[in-house]
C-alpha cells in the first residue's frame, strides 16, 4: 500500500508547513552516521480537482529536481539532490545547517508575524555568529543569483526566506576570509529561460520581497544589484534596462486614492 517515500515520511520529523509542501527532516537509511536529508512533500491538496492536482504535483517536483541539477552543474550553491518521487510528490534534498537570510536581517525576524515573542534558541542566531558583514552578505546574494541566471535558471520566488547561510560550525569554507556560504533554496517555482524579461522579473520579485519584509532596505538591495551587475558582465545592460521597465508595470501596486 504505502509507497517507500511515504514510509520514509512517516518516520520523519515535521519541520514546517509552507504554502504548498510539508517539510520534514529524515534519514534515508537507518544508519545513524547517515547525514540527514530534507524531505519536501507536496501533499495532496483537497481543494484542487484530483486530476489537476496530480499533474501539477508531478510537473512541479520534476521541475524542481531539474532546476536543482542544472544549478549544481553550473556551480550555483544549492542543496544537493538526494531522491525524487514525482508521483507521490516527494523530493529529498541535502539538509543545510544554518539560518534563512530573512531572519538575519532587520525586520525579518518576525515583526510582521506573531512569532516575535517566542524566541527559539535557533532564531537567536545573528549575523555576528556567521561572522559576515551585511554588505558582504548582499554581495553573496547578488553573485549567487547572477551565477544562476548565467545558467539560464529562473528561480521564480526569490525572497530572503529562500536563501540560507550555512552555519560555520558545520561547514568547512574554502574561502580564506568567509566561514559561511550562501545557499539558494526552494526551487518550487523555478523554470528554465534565457529571456532577459524573465531574469528582470526574477530580480523585481526579490526587490519587492526586500521592501515588504525589511524596512528601509533600499541600500541593501542596491548592493545586491551591484554585485549581480559585476558578475553578469555585458548581459547586465539589457537586464538592467528591462528591470526599470518591469518596475513600472504591476497594475495597482500602490493603493492610493
Amino acid at each position: 500500500m504505502a509507497s517507500a517515500s511515504l514510509n520514509l515520511i512517516s518516520g520523519a520529523t515535521l519541520i514546517s508547513q509552507g504554502a504548498e509542501a510539508k517539510v520534514y527532516k529524515a534519514r534515508l537509511t537507518s544508519e545513524p552516521s547517515d547525514p540527514a536529508v530534507l524531505l519536501k512533500h507536496r501533499f495532496r491538496k483537497g481543494y484542487r480537482h484530483p486530476t489537476l492536482d496530480g499533474s501539477l504535483t508531478r510537473a512541479r517536483v520534476a521541475g524542481e529536481a531539474r532546476a536543482l541539477l542544472k544549478c549544481l552543474r553550473a556551480g550555483v550553491n544549492v542543496p544537493g539532490l538526494r531522491m525524487v518521487d514525482a508521483v507521490e510528490g516527494v523530493l529529498g534534498i541535502e539538509w543545510i545547517d544554518g539560518q534563512s537570510v530573512r531572519k538575519l536581517l532587520p525586520g525579518g525576524a518576525g515583526e510582521d508575524e506573531d512569532g516575535a515573542s517566542e524566541d527559539d534558541p535557533e532564531d537567536a542566531d545573528s549575523l555576528n555568529e556567521y561572522d559576515i558583514p551585511v554588505d558582504i552578505l548582499m554581495q553573496l546574494i547578488g553573485q549567487e543569483i547572477a551565477k544562476m541566471h548565467l545558467a539560464d535558471v529562473i528561480h521564480g520566488d526569490l525572497t530572503t526566506s529562500n536563501m540560507m547561510l550555512r552555519h560555520p560550525s558545520s561547514f568547512k569554507s574554502r574561502h580564506p576570509t568567509l566561514s559561511t556560504e550562501l545557499v539558494l533554496i526552494d526551487f518550487g517555482l523555478s523554470f528554465h529561460s534565457s529571456l532577459i524579461e524573465d531574469k528582470a522579473v526574477d530580480l523585481y520579485v526579490l526587490e519587492r520581497a526586500f521592501s515588504s519584509t525589511h524596512p528601509d532596505s533600499e541600500p541593501l538591495f542596491a548592493s545586491v544589484l551591484t554585485a549581480y551587475e559585476q558578475r553578469m558582465g555585458k548581459d547586465w545592460t539589457a537586464i538592467g534596462r528591462r528591470l526599470d521597465d518591469v518596475r513600472l508595470r504591476g497594475r495597482k501596486r500602490s493603493m492610493v486614492g
Partner: protein, 354 residues
C-alpha cells in the same frame, strides 16, 4: 489562532455618527446609510443597489454605464434615505468612491456626491474602493487581521495589512478573474442576469469533464488572459457541442459548455486559493477574508475553506449584499476615516481609474 490582533487607534464615538456612501465604480450603483453607535457597534440602516444589465453576449460600456448611474442615482439615494428613515441633514459625511474603477461611472457618482455636499453643507470623504470592500468585510465577519482575497470583475488581489497600510502581496498580471468569467460567459452566450459569474457557477455544476487549461500562478501573482484564450479555443474544437447534447448515441467524446465552465472554475479558483495560501504562509496569518463579487461563488468559498482546514485556519465570506459592490461599504470605510479626522476637500474630490 488568529494573526496578531491589530491595534485600533480609533476610540468609540462620543455620539452616534451617520454616513451615506455612494458607489458606482462599475455597473452597479449603490447607496447605503450606516450608523456608528457610542458603544462601538455598527448598524446598517439601508443598503440599496441597482445593476446595469446588458443583453447576453455584451459587456457594459463606460459611457452607457455612466448614463445608467445618472438615471438611477437620485432614485436610489432617495429610496435609501427613506428606508433608513433619516434625512440628508442628519448625516455627518458623504462618502463616495474615489477609485479604482471605470472613469465615466466614477465621475458621474462623484458629481452627485459633490452636489449633495454643497447643497447640504456636509464634508466629503473619498474612499478607496478596495479598502471599502475590506473594511466592510472586517465589520460584517469580525475578522481581525485576515489575508484578504479581493476578487471581482475589475480586481484580483491578495491583500494584507502590514505597517499601517493595506499592502498588495499578489495580484493579476493582466485581466481580473471576474473579467475572465464575464467574457467567457459572453462567448457561450450566458445571460448577464443576475450576473454572468453566477450563471457560470450554475452551469459548472452540470459539468463533469475536466479539460486541460493553462495554470498560471507566478509567485503570488496570477494571470488569466491565456486561460481565457485557451477556454475560448475549446469552443472551436470539433468535439464541442454548443447545445450540450450528443449528436447521436455514439457521440460520447464531446465537450459541453457546462464542462468548459466546470474546467474554467476549477482551474482559476485553484490558482486563487494557491496564491492566498502562499500569502498566508508568507505572513503567518490564519484568517482569510474573501471580498468582491466573485467572492459570492460557493465553489470558491468551498475550496478556500478546505484549504483553510488543511492549515487550521478560518475563512470569512459574506453573502452577495456585501460581497458585490455596494454603497454601505463606502459609507463604512468613509465614516471610519472621517472619525479619524480625514476629509476630502472639494478641490481634491477627483476620481482615479487606478
Amino acid at each position: 489562532m488568529p494573526g496578531r490582533v491589530r491595534q485600533i487607534p480609533l476610540k468609540n464615538p462620543d455620539r452616534p455618527y451617520l454616513a451615506i456612501g455612494l458607489e458606482g465604480s462599475a455597473n452597479k450603483f449603490g447607496a447605503g446609510v450606516i450608523r456608528h453607535r457610542e458603544d462601538g457597534s455598527t448598524v446598517v440602516l439601508s443598503n440599496i443597489r441597482h445593476t446595469y444589465i446588458t443583453p447576453p453576449g455584451e459587456g457594459f460600456q463606460p459611457r452607457d454605464t455612466a448614463l445608467h448611474h445618472r438615471e438611477w442615482a437620485l432614485k436610489i439615494i432617495n429610496e435609501c434615505l427613506v428606508k433608513a428613515n433619516v434625512s440628508m441633514h442628519d448625516v455627518d459625511c458623504i462618502c463616495f468612491t474615489k477609485g479604482p474603477g471605470m472613469g465615466a461611472p466614477l465621475q458621474s457618482v462623484a458629481l452627485v456626491a459633490r452636489t449633495l455636499s454643497l447643497l447640504f453643507d456636509k464634508p466629503l470623504i473619498g474612499v478607496n474602493h478596495c479598502v471599502g470592500h475590506i473594511e466592510m468585510g472586517r465589520e460584517v465577519t469580525g475578522a481581525q487581521n485576515p489575508v484578504v482575497l479581493y476578487v471581482s470583475g475589475g480586481n484580483t488581489q491578495v491583500i494584507a495589512y502590514s505597517r499601517q497600510c493595506y499592502r498588495i502581496f499578489g495580484e493579476t498580471l493582466d485581466i481580473a478573474v471576474g473579467n475572465c468569467l464575464d467574457r467567457f460567459a459572453r462567448v457561450i452566450d450566458l445571460s448577464n442576469d443576475p450576473a454572468p459569474g453566477y450563471n457560470i457557477e450554475q452551469e459548472a455544476k452540470k459539468g463533469k469533464r475536466l479539460l486541460t487549461l493553462p495554470y498560471a500562478t507566478k509567485g503570488m501573482d496570477v494571470s488569466f488572459s491565456g486561460i481565457l484564450t485557451a477556454v475560448e479555443a475549446y469552443t472551436f474544437d470539433k468535439r464541442f457541442r454548443a447545445d450540450g447534447q450528443p449528436r447521436n448515441p455514439d457521440d460520447q467524446d464531446i465537450i459541453t459548455p457546462a464542462d468548459l465552465c466546470f474546467s474554467l472554475q476549477e482551474t482559476i479558483y485553484a490558482m486563487l486559493v494557491e496564491i492566498t495560501e502562499r500569502a498566508m504562509a508568507h505572513i503567518g496569518s490564519k484568517e482569510i477574508l474573501i471580498v468582491g463579487g466573485v467572492g459570492c461563488n460557493e465553489r470558491l468559498q468551498e475550496m478556500m475553506s478546505i484549504m483553510a482546514k488543511e492549515r487550521e485556519g478560518k475563512v470569512f465570506a459574506m453573502d452577495e449584499s456585501f460581497c458585490i459592490d455596494n454603497g454601505i461599504m463606502i459609507a463604512q470605510a468613509g465614516l471610519l476615516s472621517f472619525r479619524m479626522g480625514f476629509e476630502t476637500p472639494l478641490s481634491k474630490s477627483t476620481t482615479t481609474q487606478r
